[in-house]
């Protein structure tokens, strides 16, 4: 029994995976190990938040990609046979997990929304979304180690515990990677982080031109909320930055109120708002799928409805 391993890509993601890892460890009677890269000052924090062991990766040259660690982690897993290996479902975490799973001839459950231990079958089980979010797939692992990637913010950060003791171990140097990073361009955040916004007004293809997004902005302003959009508006038209794109290929949000304007309701977008408190929609097509998934809907032209909506909101607030 070599326990549950967590790949520690960043502090934030690692604390989330520690929440999942420690509860699974408790249920299955295992230990939790974190594979730490970089900042050794995190050793203490991870140990105090439930890790039993820290495996420290050696530093690599600045032009080496994170994926360069794949042979080291795969080698260590082949040697020690962990029971479960968790990665954050980030660009790099997903790639590393898939390649390591391939090296180990084992299964990987991608983007798990829940991981659990089944005491009867003594196996780990996972849930994930399929068909753009239209279905929930539940799987059990039949090979070892079980591997899973978990989307950011699926779990909250692990709380600090009283004991902060554990073992430390250094992992070997990786071979040079065939991929070299020649430049790292940091993203300048061009929009606010809306993942914790209380109210979100999202714009869809029903908007005819970019200037018209003012309509959505005014509604957001009247409600004290933030603006967001569907994928075509950010990726195809580039009207709004990627950070504001809600859905399977964008961000997931959980506002108290979501209002979709001119959004048809493709499942990939809806998946990103499934945890919203109240879903409202304005669309002129009464057959738009979004009405099937909304709590409140107005069938009408957003260009006509939204100004009236703003007026009514102001009235309701006694403004």
């Amino acid at each position: 029994m070599a326990g549950i391993w967590i790949f520690g890509e960043t502090r934030e993601r690692t604390l989330e995976l520690l929440t999942a890892g420690t509860s699974l460890a408790e249920a299955s009677g295992q230990t939790v190990s974190v594979i730490l890269r970089g900042d050794e000052s995190l050793v203490k924090e991870y140990l105090s938040r439930g890790a039993d062991e820290i495996m420290i990766l050696p530093e690599i040259a600045g032009d080496q990609p994170l994926e360069g660690y794949v042979p080291v982690i795969a080698g260590e897993a082949a040697r020690l046979s962990p029971d479960l290996v968790l990665f954050p479902a980030t660009t790099r975490g997903r790639e590393m997990a898939a390649r390591i799973a391939s090296c180990l001839n084992t299964g990987l459950c991608s983007d798990c929304t829940a991981v659990s231990w089944n005491p009867e079958s003594e196996a780990f089980e996972c849930e994930r979304l399929a068909y753009g979010g239209a279905a929930v797939q539940k799987i059990a692992f039949t090979a070892q180690p079980a591997m899973a990637t978990i989307p950011p913010r699926t779990y909250g950060p692990a709380p600090a515990k009283e004991t902060g003791e554990g073992a430390l171990r250094h992992l070997p140097e990786p071979p040079p990677s065939p991929v070299r990073i020649v430049e790292r361009k940091k993203r300048e955040r061009s929009a606010r982080d809306i993942r914790d916004a209380r109210i979100i007004v999202a714009a869809g293809r029903g908007f005819v031109k970019q200037e018209d997004l003012e309509i959505a902005r005014s509604l957001a302003e009247a409600l004290g909320g933030e603006i967001a959009c569907t994928r075509p508006l950010s990726e195809e038209y580039h009207w709004l930055p990627d950070e504001l794109c809600i859905g399977l290929s964008g961000i997931s949000v959980k506002p108290q109120l979501y209002i979709g304007l001119g959004i048809s309701g493709q499942i990939q977008h809806i998946t990103g708002i499934r945890d919203a408190g109240l879903i409202a929609a304005v669309n002129k097509d009464e057959n738009a799928p979004i009405f099937q998934m909304a709590d409140l809907g107005i069938v009408g032209d957003l260009y006509r409805v939204v100004p009236e909506l703003i007026a009514e909101i102001r009235k309701a607030r006694g403004e």
Binding site: S110, Y131, G132, G133, I139, T142
Partner: protein, 254 residues
């Protein structure tokens, strides 16, 4: 001149997925399509050929009915196709798809660059690309939004959580592409006619060594419950007021 392989999957169009009795997935009246991001992989392979020459081979693993997808793929510009098919290839795991593709590609298709979509529209596991690269022992770059090739050098822009990494490697290599790398063409009548004249190599189970076993078991596949209250209003002034009143009563207006 680089030889490209563009991998694609013929998938259920998720827009047709319905909820059957007891929440089970009803796939009885679905339509099929080439997985969305795989269209970007096909398009990018063809775009590289248009710039640098070479040959583009489209490759898929699937059930015999996916033959329609092979025609569709060929109408998007590849020179030829490999169709690896068997009725047993319906619910393959990513590990199995990658193993089958690697087996066929290794001995039968010369390549410098393999292009895959970032993930399939049905299961979106995003594993086949990196697993395929690992089995073939070639460099892998996922989440790619731009590529350029100079001789045997590949430079790729890769989108990460922090920004964009410009990475370089030496061919042969594999990339998985994001949807914003290009806009896939819409095939015309002439493209469709030309597609039926292109060469397709069909490979069956008998031509392959035995499949690797399952590593996971699907316990259930249920429709996700997205049901909400579904209260409708018209665009009339009174109704808009009633809508706002509902927001007030729900306590979401402060």
């Amino acid at each position: 001149m680089p030889n490209m392989i563009a991998c694609f999957k013929w998938v259920v169009d998720e827009a047709y997925v319905r909820s059957g009795a007891s929440g089970d997935l009803d796939l009885s009246s679905v339509d099929y399509k080439i997985s969305d991001y795989d269209k970007n992989a096909l398009e990018e392979a063809v775009a590289v050929r248009e710039r640098s020459g070479g040959v583009v081979t489209a490759v898929t693993v699937g059930v015999p009915e996916a033959g329609k997808g092979v025609k569709d793929a060929l109408s998007r510009g590849p020179d030829k196709a490999f169709f690896i098919r068997d009725p047993a290839f319906r619910d393959l795991e990513p590990s199995q798809t990658a193993a089958i593709m690697a087996e066929v590609i290794r001995d039968r298709i010369p390549f410098d660059l393999i292009l895959c979509g970032e993930g399939s529209s049905d299961l979106y596991a995003r594993q086949v690309g990196p697993r395929l690269a690992e089995i073939l022992g070639i460099p892998c770059l996922t989440g790619v939004q731009k590529i350029s090739i100079e001789g045997t050098r590949l430079v790729a822009e890769r989108r990460t959580e922090e920004g964009v990494d410009v990475a370089e490697t030496v061919l042969p290599a594999l990339v998985t592409v994001l949807p914003d790398i290009n806009t896939p063409r819409i095939p015309g009548v002439r493209d469709t006619l030309m597609a039926s004249k292109k060469e397709t190599t069909v490979i069956g189970m008998d031509d392959l060594p035995s499949l690797p076993g399952d590593t996971m078991k699907t316990l259930s596949m249920k429709t996700a419950s997205l049901k909400r209250q579904g209260v409708r209003f018209t665009a009339e002034r009174d109704d808009v007021a009633a809508f706002v009143d509902a927001l007030v009563r729900k306590g979401v207006l402060e």
